[in-house]
């Protein structure tokens, strides 16, 4: 029977939740890396036992962890499985280094970017926000980092090299951090076209590469942000998340800092599809595994109040690709609920009855085994959830 494995990153460690295809009885594993912020974990589509994890801390910096057995054991890339010590007894393995590429051959000058106060500020690495394993090679994985840049590893996470064409394509000095930092939080790999990569940065906007990450262009036309004086500004939009269905790679859905947006031409132009949402502020957006026009958002009251409106936890679903939305509430608290759902904290499985999962700032992880028609909590008392991904194991 098929199984699902839900990978949950929280403020105080990583958890792995497993169940069979009924998605009713869950086994909980964790906390892994207890006490550390786990910004993101994601499994390789090619080898489901290969999972990458971003382990980060304001005290100790960034660690990349990798599992080769589905999350049972972990090692820092560079440590061969089972060999945590060198022959002389010294421990092996090392933290992973993310160094901006300023070389003449492949790099771009390390310029400055705008800071919160509008002054120019040097680029400084802080953490990995998002890991995106390749569709074709378990050792190939991309990392989106803060301060915004895109890195790539071809050796299973042991070494990372910047795809400097993004940071260096010209608009960098105009990028400015959002409240959470200047983070590259979304990486989408087009399964049909290995040269196409979409990324999004808070608060610079969305970008696209059509040559596997060498060169990039901003794709923000049609986005409207009240705080930007120039309505035709190429960059400066606070994109919270972007989603794409692999069967329709030219159609993108975006949850912005206000507005839910859609593009049908690979991001060249966007239009608003917020429609009848009670509020169009939010962080997550995701697409049904089998229905490319069915999308999900979690409306949040406002940019000043990061919790669900009216004390009601509601996921909204549109089966028309936006504009017409229905509230999904069965099994979700409808009073005295004031949680947030962060941008990487929703995922879908690919079982026939598509499962939807999301985690909250209050530590709950919910599942719907029926595409959102009803929900139940898998866990209720985790640390604040930072990310949710799910692997479908057949």
């Amino acid at each position: 029977m098929s199984r699902v494995r839900v990978l949950v990153g929280t403020k105080k460690g990583a958890f792995i939740l497993s169940a069979d295809g009924k998605r009713e009885k869950w086994e909980i594993s964790g906390p892994h890396f207890a006490g550390w912020e786990i910004y993101h974990l994601k499994g390789s589509p090619v080898d489901p036992n290969r999972i990458y994890c971003s382990q980060t801390s304001g005290w100790f910096g960034q660690i990349i962890q990798r599992s080769d057995d589905g999350g049972k054991t972990w090692l820092q890339p560079g440590t061969p499985p089972g060999e945590t010590k060198a022959p002389d007894g010294s421990p092996k393995g090392e933290s992973n280094k993310f160094k901006y590429d300023v070389s003449k051959e492949t790099g771009a000058p390390l310029t400055t970017h705008q800071f919160y106060d509008g002054t120019q500020h040097p680029w400084e690495f802080k953490r990995v926000w998002h890991l995106e394993p390749s569709h074709t090679d378990p050792n190939l994985v991309y990392a989106g980092v803060e301060d915004a840049a895109l890195f790539k590893s071809t050796d299973g996470g042991q070494n990372w090299n910047e795809l400097a064409g993004l940071r260096g394509h010209g608009t960098g000095p105009q990028w400015q951090p959002g409240a959470g930092g200047m983070c590259l939080h979304t990486i989408i790999l087009d399964k049909k076209n290995p040269n196409r990569i979409y990324i999004a940065i808070s608060a610079a906007g969305a970008f696209r590469s059509d040559d596997a990450g060498k060169t990039w262009k901003p794709i923000n036309q049609g986005l409207v942000s009240q705080y930007i004086p120039d309505p035709n500004a190429e960059v400066g939009h606070c994109v919270h998340h972007v989603a794409m269905h692999p069967a329709k790679p030219d159609t993108l859905f975006m949850q912005k800092h206000w507005d839910v947006m859609r593009s049908d031409n690979a991001g060249d132009r966007w239009h608003e599809v917020s429609g009848n949402l009670p509020t169009d502020f939010g962080f997550v957006i995701d697409v049904h595994a089998h229905e490319p026009e069915t999308i999900y958002v979690a409306p949040i009251k406002s940019d000043g109040e990061h919790f669900v409106p009216e004390g009601k936890l509601r996921i909204y679903r549109s089966k028309s690709g936006g504009n017409e939305w229905e509230a999904l509430t069965k099994g979700l608290p409808q009073s005295d609920c004031y949680v947030n759902i962060l941008r990487d904290a929703m995922a879908v499985d690919s079982l026939d009855s598509c499962g939807i999962y999301f985690g909250t700032s209050g530590g709950q992880v919910y599942v719907s085994p029926n595409a959102g028609d009803s929900w139940s909590p898998i866990v209720r008392d985790f640390p604040g959830v930072l990310s949710v991904e799910v692997q479908t194991l057949t």
């Binding site: 006490g35 550390w36 801390s57 304001g58 005290w59 100790f60 910096g61 960034q62 660690i63 820092q76 440590t79 945590t84 010294s90 421990p91 092996k92 393995g93 090392e94 933290s95 992973n96 280094k97 993310f98 160094k99």
Partner: protein
């Protein structure tokens, strides 16, 4: 032998329990003890000092013999008691931040 006390999270990362001991071939300074620590435990690179600048990470401090050595020059000699192994060199994480 230099005795070094690591914060709990770094002990976990380095797969060690309790103190670590280092045999310094170089002149015993702040710099050399951290160089040797990172050479022996390469998974700690970047967790105490920044990868690039090798500056102390802001939320970590260095103590020895009840003195805060965090703002001393990297070439500051370690106290004789630390060099003799009578007192440990302490790497302490800030007790703040939730």
């Amino acid at each position: 032998m230099i005795r070094v006390v690591l914060p709990a999270h770094l002990r976990t990362l380095a797969h060690v329990n309790g103190e670590v001991t280092l045999d310094l071939a170089a002149r015993p300074t702040l710099r050399s003890v951290l160089d040797e620590l990172e050479a022996r435990y390469p998974m700690l690179r970047g967790t105490i000092r920044d990868h690039d600048s090798l500056q102390r990470r802001p939320f970590l401090r260095f103590f020895a013999c009840a003195e805060d050595l965090s703002h001393e020059s990297w070439d500051t000699l370690l106290p004789p008691e630390v060099v003799a192994g009578k007192e440990p060199f302490l790497i302490i994480g800030a007790i703040a931040g939730g």
